[in-house]
Amino acid sequence: MRNSTIVFRFSSGCGLLGGALLLSVGMASAAENRVLSEDAYLDEMPVVLSVSRLSQRVDEAPAAVTVIDRQLIKESGVWDLAEVFRLVPGMVVSYHSTSAYTMDNTVAYHGLSDPYARSMQVLVDGRSVYSPLFGGVLWGDIPVALDDIDRIEVIRGPNAASYGANSFMGVINIITLHPSETQGKFVSLTTGRNREEVVARYGGRNDSGDLTYRITAGVRNDKGEDSIIVNSLSTKPSDGYDKNKYDDRKVQLFTLRVDYRINTTDELEFQFGYNGGDRQEGEAGNPEKSTPFWKRADNHFEQLRWRRALEDGGELSVQYYHGYESSYGTDTNKGISYNMDVIAQRHDLEVQHTFSLNKSTRMVWGGSMRYDNVYAPSYFGNSIAKKPFHLGRLFGNLEWRAHPDLVFNLGAMLEENSFTGTDIRPRVAANWHFLPGHTLRVSNSKATRTPTNYEKVLADPYLALGKVKQKLRPERVDSTEIGYLGKFSDLNVDFRVFRDEFSDLIVENGTSVSQGYLNPGNATLKGFETQLQWNVGPRTRLVYGFSHSLVSSLNQAQMPYTDAVPTTVQSMMLTHRFDHRWSGSLMGYQMGKVHFPETDRGPDGNKRYYVDSYQRFDARVAYAFQAGTTRGELALVVQNLTDDHHFEFRFDNEPPGRSAWLNLKFDL
């Protein structure tokens, strides 16, 4: 690129005035020379939209997909990342429902879960954040700032052929912005009822532009739930039903992402992230826990990825990451101290190759190796040994366009792990565009969930003592669905009916042990759900989700499977842009009554106690402004507009009443 313009280099690093002057000089000389060379026509350009950057069309994906983009995240006014999934049809989200290890949110597709929902795989930029100890995801511990997220793709339904075990009921793919899209300075300030946060970001690049980076740092002070339950089930102060859990937390966040373009085809991406701080734990209602148990959490990861764009439009990538999840603290109960330290580590190496066999067939295949180890004496029977887990995978998916309007996806994953041995999980799907803009999808997918380290450690002694006959096995699901996607002038419709047959569900309670079998659970989930996007007017949009599902099960080993799925779940989000400055949004969520495995019995010992259905409304009003080169937005968010006091997941878990906060974001 001879003699080419160097104007863009002038702009950063100078004082404001100096910068402006230099910039205008640069622009003038460039205006003189810029079109005067053939370089623009002849220069080699880097492959930017490589295969892995291009998302598959929703109507050609082998499963139902909900895409949540950054605008939707912002306009929904969510405070926690987990809350945004309330907008996904069928997603059961409950606030701070876990009551030990971490006081975090639960996100479970359709429910059928305890608070540590283990049935979804969650990836951030291709890195699994599925926790090695209890499984599931510690949502508040993910080192990612909401403002750095570009979009989230939620795959509704099992997808082990692409994402491996634990992609059991769904997959959540969180994708952050490329550093070239987050150049400059950005600040977000939030303050309001029980919530404060500061996030600052700086994005820069080197002179030649082949290296871009982003640094994001944040501090969050979250007071969680109100300490007193307003609508307590019991009015007797002595039974402790009037107190919410201890769930305050302070979070320090730091993330770094560096992307380096080696040449026009090769790219390196490095990420580091830290999320940690002091947090409370404990049931305030328990008379023996009159003070919160304070813990310190430290989570971080390092990730390195190399990508090469291949000549035929394919891509080769190699990725390594290390994840580190830890929390420290000594809890005392009745004068006895317990070491509650947990350190869980993960190393993962993956190679992936995408290529075209011919014009109508594309193939992606690859393999990965993983090693987890967990140190958790209090959960491992006081053993201080690190429990290891090894995993090896081979996967492949063939996309065959048999006809311009007919796409087949055939995929499978072969897994071998040190807990349950070898398994193969296939998936087949056909997408037929029977009319322009209208697609019918039929798919069948099989998936497994590998027992977690905790489940394995709990199960091993039963086998050693001969109390159970069989080793712990993976949980299984066989899922069949028929989906329809339609585009009408202002309306996008996504509708599907599904039937998920679960078997070998793990139950580790007295009943299952006494029956000598730790995989006794079976359940069939049938239902339909829909997702609508309606552009009501040029400046008004409505997003609506509805899910209806029913479970049939013999409720083996006294597991309340038939109650653990709310029959209906609804969500809606209405956004309107009043003018170029004012915008507003209104969200509504409704959850049917439900009794989860750990919902527990009510105060009167009622085993069939249901957590009541509830409705919640949130709103956000924003004002965009510009002052010089600073662009900003001031927003008022009100959650739980109607000040509804309801329970989520358990009778001793009441999310906050009406809460408002102000958020100021600006790009400098």
Binding site: V35, S37, A40, D43, L49
Partner: protein, 315 residues
Amino acid sequence: MHYWRFLFALCLTLAMLCLPLTAAALDGVTVVLSEEGGAYAQVADKLRAVLSQNGGTARLPVKMIALKEGDSLRAEPGQLLLAVGTEAMDELAKKKLPQPMLSVLVPRAAFEKTARQNGRLGDPRNFSAITLDQPWARQFALIRQALPGRTKVGVLLAPNSPELATALSAAAKVAGFVAIIETVDGEADLLPSLKRLLGECDVLLAVPDPLIYNRNTVQSILLTTYRHQVPLIGFSPSYVKAGAIAAVFSVPEQIGQQAAEIIQRLAADQRLPLPQPPRYFSVGVNTQVARSLGISIDDEASLNNKLKRTSEGEP
């Protein structure tokens, strides 16, 4: 009798057609490359290949020299100078040699500037060019054929491009499009301008201005455009590879072909044709990007044919 007269006339015509080359009015071509190798050499190689073909006319010797050997050039009647690239054009123009000069692989603005600086603007018959810029009409034809129904064409321009903006708007109007032009005031303004533009247009047309489109900016432009689900029309094969949905461009061989044809057709007095846009062109399509955007697009060959048919009416 009529038969003989007709044959005589035909012979005369053929003889006249062959005259410029056979009558030794043009003895040879001196090619000066801005750089050795690469696109420059591809132009020259194609030119040499065409001119050395014995297609019924005498072969025309092609002498190739590097820019640094340009000092050896002297006034040489019967020779045509072919400058390949802006640098070669600039250097040769400064020498003010009497032989006619054709510049290729140069943007139109560069040619006009050099001609102006050297007082050759009014001398197109001796100082001409095949410019790199594809005619606007051809680019709009590509949009019409590749992305039917999309009529709001967004264009990012650097400041001080009023002539470009006017020409573009006029061409868009003629072709039945609306050009929405956003001016980028410096680096910091690039993404905000782009985002504003993407809110209003349904296709983005990249105009080869290194101030806006260069290796530093291509990443953020393509990613942002893709996020807004707006297809981008590029201007080179490498843009198509990078992530533009399509582009119409002329590869060096096509420029070489056109140059060779001009040379073969030179009249006895060696008068060059007026500066002209590329005659031969190719269409590139990125099917992966198209598929991901949910756009069904014709393949390269059929778009090429459609564009050729529409461009036959072009000047």
